[in-house]
């Protein structure tokens, strides 16, 4: 039996799901699956940059917003650009890219911004890095609201093709997880975890902390941008408020529930939290059970999510999986170069 067979089976199953799912499943389930896959991209990259390095950034959603807006501007049809964004810069107004190149450019743009922002910020530790990166998120939000000629300001940015189909979402999810697990379980990944466990000891054995953290931050930013592009082309319309505090807390909850030090954990957290939110969202619309009628209670799902978040912090701060991974590729002695891969669906 080759060591790749489990990964192969997983990929074939996912491909079947991507191909057959939309034909046989109700639209609602397909949409939930797409959201899950996009969130796995976002949360696992958050896990790599935050959980594996221990540098807890709250600015991830800032990159998601940048990715969403930049990809949306790139793919918007020319006539819609004229209608919605009449003041766009000349060359931006005249190009229309395909979904894939726009997604890649969004990711690269975010990686570049990540380099610029991260180079100074990754020097900070603990609470300070969290507050500073939250500052970055707010700056992104202020700029998006005010750069009206690019973003329509606080109004809804609309008219984007909903190109994020199930195969796209699942494809990017698999690619993201493969790349991230390659990174996380390489010597470089071990350096990341060493700096998390003990900064001084890591420096003592010659790990250069700043470049290590910065690289993790940039990789996280790239996939946040990619995920943002996927999210934008799933939603079709959004505003700066879509990518703000509420999304940040939801993604942190997903990561924390699953386990901050594990990519499998990130994926498990996404699945659990998404399922919980969907169930509660259906309940909060109000329902009647026999003579008992429950009025609609909008916001209950958020409150329950927040409570789950706190319970996890109190009783299981390392999350469901801690730093354990589901291994789809056998990482026994024979395959020391190979990193453990994992999927979850």
């Amino acid at each position: 039996m080759t060591r790749w067979w489990r990964l192969g089976v997983g990929l074939v199953l996912l491909a079947l799901l991507a191909w057959l799912g939309p034909q046989f499943m109700p639209d609602y389930f397909v949409r939930v699956l797409i959201v899950m896959a996009v969130n796995v991209v976002l949360v696992s990259s958050l896990g790599l940059s935050n959980g594996f390095t221990g540098v807890f950034s709250l600015g991830h959603v800032g990159f998601v917003a940048l990715g969403a807006y930049s990809s949306a501007i790139l793919t918007l049809a020319l006539d819609k650009k004229l209608a919605y964004l009449p003041d766009l810069l000349g060359w931006l107004a005249q190009i229309q890219l395909g979904f894939l190149p726009a997604t890649l450019i969004a990711g690269l743009l975010c990686a570049l911004v990540g380099l610029i922002v991260g180079a100074p910020l990754m020097r900070l530790n603990g609470n300070y890095v969290s507050v500073a990166t939250l500052g970055f998120l707010i700056i992104v939000n202020v700029v998006l609201v005010n750069a009206e000629s690019f973003t329509r300001g606080a109004r809804t940015f609309t008219g984007i093709d909903t190109s994020t189909t199930l195969p796209w979402a699942l494809g990017w999810m698999v690619l993201t997880l493969l790349i991230l697990s390659r990174v996380a379980y390489s010597p470089f990944g071990r350096a990341m975890r060493a700096t998390r466990e003990d900064l001084i000891a890591a420096q003592g054995i010659g790990i250069r902390v700043l470049p290590t953290r910065l690289m993790a931050f940039i990789i996280g930013a790239f996939f946040a941008g990619v995920g943002g592009a996927l999210y934008a082309h799933y939603l079709g319309s959004f505003s700066p408020a879509t990518f703000y505090f509420a999304l940040m807390v939801t993604q942190l909850a997903m990561l924390v529930v699953g386990g901050q030090g594990s990519l499998t954990g990130a994926a498990v957290g996404v699945v659990l939290v998404t399922l919980l939110s969907e169930v509660l969202r259906n309940l909060e619309r109000g329902f009647s059970l026999g003579s008992l009628t429950l009025p609609p209670l909008y916001g209950v799902s958020q409150i329950v999510l927040g409570m789950v978040f706190i319970l996890v912090m109190v009783y299981r701060p390392s999350g469901l999986l801690g730093d354990r991974e589901l291994q789809l590729v056998d990482s026994s002695k024979a395959s020391q170069g190979a990193s453990p891969e994992q999927e979850a669906v």
């Binding site: 020097r123 900070l124 970055f136 807390v249 109190v314």
Partner: protein
């Protein structure tokens, strides 16, 4: 309008908004100093204080009594969140406590939306609060709300100074801020000290919430979010954990915001918040201990 009077009017505005930042930041810094907790839910104590005041006033209580009770409700809310959410994670890594407070503020804000809807409500003000004062033939104007904001902030800060210096619990707080474990060893009743710290900080936030709502004229469930972040900036400018630093930072930030709007070209003023948070990042990098240089290991 002559230059001097324009400057004077801006000074009035700066003092008025800076007082509120100082009032919020000092509570934030008090709690951070003891627990190393970045209490994001602190802003929601403002919201709770202001909403309690609105509800009590509309139920027929006199305005002043409603304000006092509203502030008491905020203080009580602070004690409850400490007991329910923060005590179980006390001593956990900084990030765990920070995440807990983020989750808490998410809960409180959504609870506010669920109970009161997201749309703003009028904050009922008695006439004497909005009485307009004018100097220099009406070229410099301010209301009693501005006077109260500055006056009550100063009174609160003087009270806090007295409390920290002259009472046993205050002494305990200073000891706990120095070293929580050592304070416990020498017999400081840490739980009581922390409860009182939350009570004081939340009462200050409640007062700030009432004044903020009076200045804005409305309350809404998310009203605490932006002031809290600004107070964070103020506390970091002064040196997170230092009470005088938080006050200094609050007034400096108020002055800076007014300066940006008053003296820079109008195209810049929408970017005010971005500039403020840019400043925060600059401070963290160049002088992480703040102006008063609270020495803590924060930077690589």
């Amino acid at each position: 309008m002559t230059g001097f009077e324009y400057l004077f009017q801006q000074l009035v505005n700066a003092l008025s908004v800076g007082s509120l930042y100082a009032l919020i930041a000092v509570g934030l810094s008090l709690i951070f100093g003891i627990l190393r907790l970045s209490n994001f839910a602190h802003g929601d104590m403002m919201m709770i204080g202001a909403f309690a005041t609105v509800l009590l006033t509309t139920s027929g209580l006199s305005f002043l009594l409603a304000c006092l009770l509203g502030i008491a409700v905020a203080a009580l809310a602070g004690v409850i969140i400490e007991r329910v959410a923060y005590r179980p994670v006390r001593g956990a890594p900084d990030v765990t406590m920070l995440l807990t407070s983020l989750a808490l503020t998410f809960i409180l804000e959504n609870l506010g939306i669920l109970l009161f809807t997201a749309s703003p409500r009028n904050f009922p003000l008695p006439d004497w609060m909005t009485k307009l004062w004018s100097l220099f033939d009406g070229r410099v104007t301010f209301t009693n709300i501005n006077v109260l904001s500055v006056g009550l902030t100063l009174v609160s800060l003087l009270f806090l100074t007295w409390f920290m210096r002259r009472t046993t619990v205050g002494l305990g707080m200073r000891a706990a801020a120095e070293d929580l474990g050592a304070a416990q060893l020498v017999g400081v009743r840490v739980n009581r000290v922390i409860v009182v710290a939350f009570m004081l900080a939340s009462a200050f936030a409640g007062l700030a919430g009432v004044l903020w709502a009076a200045q804005a004229g409305v309350v809404d469930p998310l009203m605490g979010f932006t002031p809290l972040l600004k107070a964070f900036v103020a506390a970091i400018i002064g040196g997170l954990g230092s009470l005088p630093g938080a006050v200094l930072g609050g007034y400096l930030l108020g002055a800076l915001e007014v300066l940006i709007v008053a003296f820079l070209p109008p195209e810049v003023s929408p970017y005010r918040d971005a500039i403020v948070f840019g400043l925060l990042i600059g401070f963290l990098l160049l002088r992480p201990g703040g102006l008063l240089n609270v020495t803590r290991e924060v930077k690589l």
